[in-house]
Amino acid sequence: MGKIEAKNIIKYFQHDGKPLKAIGGVNLTVDDGEFVCIVGPSGCGKSTFLRILAGLEKPDDGEVLLDGKKLVNTGPDRIMVFQEGALFPWLTVEDNVEYGLKVAGIPENERHDISKRYLDMMQLSQFANSYTYQLSTGMKQRVAIARALVMDPDVLLMDEPFAALDSQTRDLLLVEMQMIWQKTKKTIIFVTHNVPEAAVLGSRVAVFSHRPSVVKKSLDIDYKRPRVAEDENLGKFEKEILAALRHQGPK
């Protein structure tokens, strides 16, 4: 039994008023402490699949199990990091990070202790009282990651969180993300369209096929950490991923 299990997930999109099968029966089991990256061609429904895991969308068929229990709704046991961060502009960095704790009714001093720990981890301490419009895109994603980590979720779901970053900031966050994973031992599912990013981050990479998507290939990446994107030894893993992506037939 995995930590989180997706069983035969099927999802239709509405396209010009007609249903279009986007996800065609995805099975994915992620073990406790795994870092799984999902890659796939655009439009294959990988982000939608992640949203289904988060409980933000309902599948048309299939089910999601967490520790063997069927999930119905969204909840803080699976925290999502959104592509654009989805930070609340009316709150300071600190209040953003503490939002979920406040909702959970955790007392103020305890909230501060927890948020301080993660603000330190993400090197955000000096920005605790800033508003999000004062931050760079990279800083915003750090806040979004800190806001997710304070909830101590069973599974961390990340939807292309580094897609909008410049390459320098991204390289930095790729290294940090590995350190966070090693330190917190979180189960992470990370959606990306960037193959090198998947090879750097994933302990395993799941390749989705073109829609209606299924898991085309599951590739373990057994290589020392921290990895960096320019490491040539990652090249053979990247080639395998690319081959699986390419091996899809015509669109």
Binding site: A54, G55, L56, T74, G75, P76, R78, I79, M80, F82, E84, A86, F88, P89, W90, L91, Y99, G100, K102, V103, A104, Y131, T132, Y133, Q134, R147, M151
Partner: protein
């Protein structure tokens, strides 16, 4: 630049007063039809010295504040419901658009019949004149919230009234401010209009007294006071509030 702008404004108003005095000195119309700026000024000073002006202002402002508060509270509630519950929007929403087209003074006869010549009647007219502007802006604001804010909050465990107070209201607040601003403008027109017709204390009443006494300079003096308060509240209360919110929300 800023001093320059202020200089232009002062010069313009000084010019108006000079022209006004000039027309008056030309004796085209008698003083009881076209008073001089000095007469208007004297009337204002008289109102200040016997306190009737302050009493009038205080009465109108008190009614405005109560009426506008009701409009803001009710309008926000209605707007949020309209934005979040489709059935409410399809039913009450269409009625709100219709009701908003009724000028607030058109509510006066109904208010008199329902509440009599009382403060409640004037407050009713003030509130009903403003509530739909707040409702519609709140509705638009909530509808325009980035859906990922709501999803992120729900994902972190927020639901029900917690979602409303911690996400929907603050996220829609920049729109709501526009609603409050429009609401205030409608409320101010409403309160003065209602006081004119109710003839029951307040600045609108003083305006009407001027007419009944054939005292044109009193009428003009009261109009200037009504305009002055409008400028003050617009420029200080709402402009400041709007600037603050827009900056904090990162919208400018």
């Amino acid at each position: 630049m800023k001093a320059n702008l202020l200089g232009k404004k002062i010069a313009f108003y000084v010019l108006i007063i000079i022209v006004w005095q000039g027309i008056d000195s030309a004796e085209i119309w008698p003083d009881n039809i076209f008073p001089s700026p000095i007469q208007v000024g004297e009337d204002l000073l008289y109102g200040v010295s016997d306190g009737s002006l302050f009493y009038g202002i205080a009465t109108s402002m008190w009614r405005l504040v109560i009426g506008l508060s009701i409009a803001i509270g009710g309008g926000m509630l209605l707007g949020i419901f309209m934005a979040r519950v489709e059935t409410v929007n399809q039913t009450i929403g269409s009625l709100v658009l219709g009701l908003q087209s009724i000028p607030s003074v058109a509510w006066v006869p109904l208010a008199i019949l329902w509440f009599g010549l009382s403060d409640s009647g004037i407050i009713f007219v003030t509130a009903i004149g403003a509530i739909f502007a707040v409702t519609i802006n709140t509705y638009t604001g909530v509808k325009n919230i980035d859906p990922s804010f709501i999803e992120a909050a729900r994902n972190m465990g927020a639901k029900g009234s917690q979602l409303v107070t911690t996400i929907l209201i603050p996220a829609a607040f920049p729109y709501m401010i526009s609603g409050f601003k429009q609401g205030w403008a409608f409320a101010w027109r409403g309160v003065i209009g209602a006081e004119l017709l109710f003839s029951f204390l307040g600045l609108g009443f003083l305006l009407n007294v001027g007419r009944q006494l054939n005292d044109v300079s009193q009428v003009i003096a009261m109009m200037l006071v009504i305009m002055g308060i409008g400028i003050l509240i617009d420029g200080f209360v709402f402009k400041k509030l709007e600037d603050k919110v827009m900056t904090k929300w990162g919208l400018r």
